[in-house]
């Protein structure tokens, strides 16, 4: 025991002499987590893109088209551009011809053209034209989705107009008028109201009767119910069962994974120190005295677990400072989970050192495995987004179980007792991996 303490203290002294190691373990990870946090916007309460430049040319005189442009303007994802600044600083409205060159010039990547014949007569639907430079797939999909949403929820009558136009094409204008009149009568028979007003609404494509007395209770203003109609086609009642009281939810979900990745990096670094000590002949000196091989390995392991624990808790506390994650409130559970995670990671580092012939091989292999475990284990990306077989493999990574554990503690607020299975998996992994590492070390050349 005394020997172990001396060895651990030795590693502490070595560590704090090595400014690079300290920086790589604490300062750089904190800085990177801060940057990651900004990049992924985990401090924002609302998520989603903002300010994507969208050029809009409206050639239609349909009032619905103007309403659509206004709707797009109020969408925070877009910065709507409708004018072009000429070299002499004067402005003029954008035209359709302007768009392609400007997109090529990278002034914006998306443009929407609302043509004069917005309402198609030859087919059902709206004629919109989108010009784009789909440099980024996610952005393109987002823009398309947002446009659809803007049209559906803001100017539904455009679709109604399209239906009317199509019907006129098929059955002819007089017949359509007759049809609308009959419909209006049927509606007013059933619901009351003014038949002429309802017929006019139908002809204008306003199937929701937004602007008729039907749509509102007496005294209610005209626009109030408009939003409700489409949002209530499918009623989703959403009740958050878990994590309702979590402060900084986005940060809480991801910080554990990032911290794990840095922990693995730091520990693979400490594993290569096994090689340095061997190369210097230090094991010859230690082993020729009263120290045993097991003590050397155990000493390294304990040191790794300790520094790993300190690193994790430090990174979490930094998470509290930077993103407002509630760490102090969960400290005991988090410390125990961190201890188990650090043990698993240290054992992993020791195994790497034990199976690698050279320190270069060890650090190469470590980088590969760490990035792989972090990606597959869900440190970068929620694993539910990944293919099923990867989700299965994920369960074989330390990162996955550590993140699971951190989420149990920080997100679900589970008491320590309920985290026991996860703790068990992590410490069990640590014990098993360490056993293999010790076995390999004893057969390998490291102590000769």
């Amino acid at each position: 025991m005394r020997t172990l303490l001396i060895l651990i203290r030795k590693d502490f002294a070595l560590f704090f002499r090595d400014k690079t190691a300290v920086a790589l373990t604490f300062i750089i990870p904190v800085a990177l987590i801060y940057v990651f946090g900004q990049v992924f916007g985990i401090t924002r309460t609302d998520t989603g893109p903002t300010g994507i430049p969208l050029a809009v040319v409206n050639a239609s005189d349909n009032p619905g088209a103007a309403a659509l442009v206004e709707a797009l303007r109020s969408e925070k994802a877009f910065r709507v551009i409708t004018e072009r600044t000429l070299p002499d600083q004067t402005k003029r409205p954008l035209t359709e011809e302007d768009l392609a060159p400007l997109i090529r010039d990278n002034r914006f990547r998306f443009a929407l053209v609302i043509p004069a014949d917005l309402i198609a007569t030859d087919t059902f639907g709206l004629r919109l034209k989108i010009l784009s430079n789909p440099r980024n797939d996610i952005e393109t999909q987002t823009v398309n989705g947002l446009l659809q949403k803007a049209i559906f929820s803001n100017v539904p009558e455009l679709h109604g107009q399209s239906l009317q136009a199509r019907a006129r094409e098929f059955i002819g204008a007089p017949e359509l008028q007759q049809f609308n009149a009959r419909m209006a009568r049927a509606i007013t028979d059933a619901f009351g109201g003014d038949a002429a007003e309802v017929e006019a609404a139908l002809a204008a494509g306003d199937f929701t009767m937004q602007n008729t007395s039907l749509a509102r209770d007496p005294g209610e203003p005209a626009a109030a119910s408009r939003q409700d109609f489409f949002s209530e086609i499918v009623k989703i009642e959403s009740e958050q069962v878990v994590g309702r009281d979590v402060k900084a939810p986005a940060a809480t979900r991801v910080v554990g994974g990032w911290a794990m990745m840095f922990l693995l990096f730091a520990l693979s670094g400490s594993a290569t120190s096994v090689f340095e000590e061997k190369k210097a002949g230090l094991y010859q000196r230690l082993l020729s005295g009263t120290v045993t091989r097991s003590q050397i390995l155990l000493g390294k392991f304990c040191w790794g677990v300790l520094i790993g624990l300190v690193q994790l808790v430090t990174l979490f506390l930094a998470g509290q400072l930077m993103f407002g994650i509630d760490i102090l409130g969960h400290l005991p559970g988090l410390a125990i989970m961190s201890l188990a995670a650090a043990a698993a990671c240290t054992a992993f580092g020791m195994l790497l050192a034990a199976v690698s012939p050279t320190p270069q091989a060890a650090s190469g292999l470590a980088t590969f495995l760490i990035l792989m475990m972090s990606a597959i284990g869900g440190a970068w990306f929620p694993i539910s987004f990944m293919p099923e077989f990867i989700q299965t493999i994920a369960k074989f990574t330390i990162v996955y179980w550590a993140m699971e554990g951190f989420n149990q503690v920080l997100w679900s607020g589970d008491p320590i007792l309920r985290t026991l299975p996860t703790l068990g998996i992590l410490t069990g992994t640590a014990a098993l991996v360490m056993a293999v590492a010790v076995w390999r070390f004893n057969r390998g050349r490291i102590f000769e």
């Binding site: 005394r2 020997t3 001396i6 060895l7 030795k10 002294a13 070595l14 002499r17 090595d18 190369k279 210097a280 002949g281 230090l282 094991y283 010859q284 000196r285 230690l286 082993l287 020729s288 005295g289 009263t290 120290v291 045993t292 091989r293 003590q295 102590f447 000769e448």
Partner: protein, 305 residues
């Protein structure tokens, strides 16, 4: 004190030690002289318990030595061939760690650290990181780090590699003093000068075998000659070399003639011959036989090749 019985150690198909038997008495300063790859470090590592022999036995103070660390070797100190120190830590920190691992602590440890640093003239550098030390200073620290716990048997594996003559002398004197005070030393080297100066008994080792064993005088009597005269091989000395053929052996190597008189030959005859040919005395070097010559005689090779 230490006894090796037919110790054999193989690395794969290579036999690094081949049936070595050796007895070291308490208080001896034993030299292990051999070229690179002879098996010196391997022998040290077996005694230190870093490796287990494939055959044979090692006994220290009447107790068989098994491989692996542990208390059996508390009375033993190893100075590894490489600088086995924590480079980033100071001299003092290094000594403290190694001392503590040997079970020392408190005032006793502090006193021993002071003493050790003073002994190798490093007291004024005690707080500097070892990596800022010169090679020779590191060697000296490497040596005392093995002595803090006052072992009874010290294994020194080539402790003077890369050390300037002055530091080397300091190390020699320190070891000689400790030896006088009762420390048993096994000292490996490929410098015959070191073995000659330091060691009361010498084992000549090559290819894992002890080729000769004894005091310096005992070893040198194994040579079939007592004197050796070398002189440059030039056209003027050619005739002299040819004329010596009947009186001993003449070999020529690296521009030098080497004349070893046959037993009973008198050196005055040689110098008379040289004088007769008008060759000045400064051309000739007369030597007593050396370990180098012995090694050459035993193996047909030189110690450093």
């Amino acid at each position: 004190m230490l006894s090796l019985q037919s110790v054999t150690k193989r690395y794969g198909s290579l036999t690094a030690l081949d049936g070595v038997s050796l007895d070291i008495a308490p208080g001896e300063f034993f030299g292990l002289l051999g070229p690179n790859g002879a098996g010196k470090s391997t022998l040290m590592s077996l005694v230190a318990g870093l490796r287990a022999p494939d055959a044979g036995s090692l006994v220290l103070d009447g107790r068989p030595l098994a491989a692996g660390g542990g208390s059996a070797r508390a009375a033993l100190g190893l100075v590894p061939q490489s600088i086995a120190l924590y480079e980033d830590l100071s001299a003092e920190q290094n000594l403290r760690i190694f001392g503590e691992l040997q079970g020392l602590s408190g005032a006793d440890l502090r006193a021993r650290i002071d003493e050790a640093l003073a002994a190798v003239q490093l007291a004024d550098r005690r707080r500097d990181p070892v990596k800022t030390f010169s090679g020779g200073m590191q060697r000296r620290l490497n040596l005392v780090a093995a002595l803090l716990h006052r072992p009874k048997l010290l294994l020194c594996d080539e402790p003077t590699v890369g050390v300037d003559p002055q530091s080397r002398n300091a190390i020699f004197e320190y070891l000689e003093r400790l030896n006088r005070e009762g420390l048993t030393v096994i000292y490996s080297t490929h410098y015959m000068e070191e073995a000659t100066r330091l060691c009361s008994r010498i084992g000549v080792i090559d290819h894992g075998k002890i080729l000769a064993l004894g005091t310096l005088d005992e070893l040198l009597t194994q040579l079939p000659f007592e004197d050796e005269i070398t002189f440059p091989a030039t056209p003027e000395t050619g005739a002299l070399a040819a004329g010596l053929a009947g009186q001993g052996t003449v070999t020529t190597d690296a521009g030098q003639h080497r004349f070893r008189p046959a037993p009973g030959h008198r050196l005055s005859e040689f110098f008379a011959l040289a004088e007769a040919r008008g060759l000045p005395p400064r051309l000739f070097t007369h030597q007593r036989p050396t370990l180098e010559a012995l090694f050459l005689h035993l193996t047909g090779r030189t110690l450093r090749e």
